[in-house]
């Protein structure tokens, strides 16, 4: 596999994304809304005297899970543009006629969705951590973030969830004819992750480092399985003759 060809495809997609305002706004606005919105919620709760920051520390950890949800949501949007966008513009045929393997193209497409999503998530998470620390440090007497829980969130669970979403979107892209439909179906991938957050909120599970390691252990084989399914879907002949 020639990784430089995959990267050529990835950077081409980046150039296309730069022209799509909705993609840029999504990459900036969604993580920023989480990064600033959730600390604002914490500040309001403390201001009303309902709780102290010390009592809210489990919630601070749980809020970090929104960045896992963010990676799933954002990568859905990017993967739809990257793959279904090529379908809509009918640019896959000349691309497939080049001396590039199916795996090189697929890797290029996966990276095109993965890299901006993770970059945006990490930036958003940095703003989130800094904001929460700025608000809570005077009360707690120490910096709550970074900690092991958010490290597992950002460095393990979020990339694995992002990969899961991108691979699922490759499979979805083979079955739909337009970007909006792909995004609608892709949006369904967010549901199990949102469900986990709800379970944590109703105290059925705890989203601590251990729970995230278990989630990651489930995502690893799921990613491997989806990799083989998406690779089987992303074959030249299937793309040209079976993709809708």
């Amino acid at each position: 596999m020639d990784l430089s060809k995959s990267w050529t495809i990835t950077t081409k997609d980046f150039a296309v994304f730069r022209r799509k305002r909705s993609v840029i706004y999504g990459l900036v606005a969604f993580p920023l809304a989480i990064a600033l919105g959730l600390p604002t919620v914490l500040a309001l709760v403390v201001q009303r005297g309902s709780a102290t920051y010390a009592q809210l520390t489990p919630l601070m950890d749980a809020f970090a899970f929104f960045f896992v949800i963010s990676t799933v949501y954002l990568s859905t949007s990017l993967a739809s543009y990257s793959i279904v966008g090529e379908k809509v513009e009918k640019s896959l045929e000349p691309l497939l006629a080049t001396p590039t393997t199916d795996s090189e193209i697929l890797l290029g497409k996966v990276l095109a969705a993965f890299v901006p999503t993770i970059a945006s998530t990490l930036l958003g998470a940095t703003v989130f951590m800094a904001t929460v620390d700025a608000l809570s440090a005077p009360d707690l007497g120490y910096l709550f973030f970074p900690n092991w829980t958010i490290a597992v969130f950002l460095l393990l669970a979020a990339p694995l969830a992002c990969l899961f979403s991108v691979e699922a979107n490759v499979i979805i892209s083979s079955r739909v004819a337009d970007i909006r439909t792909a995004q609608q179906f892709g949006g369904l991938i967010v549901l199990p992750f949102a469900g986990l957050y709800v379970l944590a909120e109703i105290q059925v599970i705890t989203l601590d480092a251990l729970a995230l390691l278990v989630l990651s252990a489930i995502l690893v084989p799921a990613d491997v399985l989806l990799f083989f399914v998406s690779r089987a879907t992303f074959r030249r002949e299937a793309i040209l003759t079976k993709w809708r």
Binding site: E89, E93, P94, T98, P99, T101
Partner: protein, 313 residues
């Protein structure tokens, strides 16, 4: 000087090539050869299998049976497929350009995938865009271009790695006459550089003007030959002569000649001939000898449209 009996190696060779999609046979038992430097045109109605034939030959879809070779490499063989892709350029029926990228960026992207070094890539892009008259628009987004300009960019894209063999699927469809002429002239220029061109087209006039040989496909290849050979296969040559007056002595003089078929329509005489250059002077001499006066003589040949309709109906 070529050796005695030397023949150029066929650049494209298909042998009993067949493609089925489930119950549907898209291409059936396709066999032909295209020599190096030749323009080969494939004509056929919609659904005849032309696009599938191109996809088979460009290693985009697998064969059901039969074999094909491009430049000696076997289509369908994994390692050879990569060599074939480096050797060929493809202009599909949909241009498939990235509308949010500039013309230059589109070509540069493909140049990178074909592993052309940066300097060669830059020079190739400049040369191609200048040849096609779109160099001034190189930094504009392709989405702002007309159909004709997009088609030119698609052709430049297929040429960015300097391929020996070019596959063009309906390259002038939906173009205005001026843009179509630019594309045709460019194709002829590529031929003059010794490149082999495989052209799918609906445009009979275009096929007649630029193709060395033409195949007519209706799932199966029903006939193949040079435009002249195909035209002759319909009803050969005819000569039409307009007289001032078709008098009885003139009619008798013409009918006394050993001609295959003579048809009179008023003062117009149409005769089937085998060799017009040899037979026309004899016919005119007989007419004049019988006191007739000739207004004009012209050769009447079947058109490619006659050929096409004969084979596809």
């Amino acid at each position: 000087m070529p050796r005695l009996g030397w023949r150029p190696r066929p650049t494209i060779e298909a042998d009993h090539l067949t493609k089925r999609f489930g119950e549907l046979t898209a291409v059936d038992d396709l066999s032909f050869r295209v020599e190096e430097g030749e323009i080969f045109g494939l004509l056929g109605p919609n659904g005849a299998g032309k696009t599938t034939a191109v996809r088979l030959l460009t290693c985009l879809v697998s064969t059901t049976s039969g074999t094909a070779r491009i430049g000696g490499y076997e289509v369908g063989n994994g390692a050879d497929a990569m060599r074939i892709r480096r050797m060929i350029g493809l202009v599909p029926d949909n241009v498939g350009l990235y509308e949010d990228l500039s013309a230059y960026r589109n070509l540069d992207f493909y140049g990178r995938l074909y592993e052309r070094p940066e300097r060669e890539r830059r020079e190739a892009i400049e040369r191609l865009l200048k040849m096609l008259g779109v160099w001034a628009q190189r930094d504009l987004l392709v989405g702002t271009f007309s159909k004709g300009m997009k088609q030119k960019i698609a052709i430049a894209r297929a040429m960015v790695h300097d391929p020996r063999v070019l596959f063009l699927d309906e390259p002038t469809a939906n173009l205005d006459p001026e843009a179509a002429k630019t594309v045709r002239d460019f194709i002829l220029e590529l031929k003059s550089e010794g490149r082999t061109i495989f052209l799918n087209t609906h445009n009979l006039d275009e096929a007649q003007r630029i193709c060395d040989r033409i195949g007519i496909l209706r799932t199966r290849l029903v006939t193949v030959g040079t435009p002249a050979e195909l035209e002759d296969s319909v009803w050969g040559q005819k000569t039409t002569i307009l007289l001032v007056e078709a008098t009885e002595p003139v009619r008798r003089a013409v009918e006394s000649l050993p001609l295959r078929k003579v048809v009179w329509e008023g003062n117009r005489l149409t005769v089937d001939v085998t060799d017009a250059a040899r037979e026309n002077p004899t016919i005119v001499a007989a007419i004049v000898g019988a006191g007739g006066r000739v207004q004009f003589v012209s050769s009447l040949r079947p058109t490619l449209e006659d050929v096409y309709l004969k084979y596809v109906r």
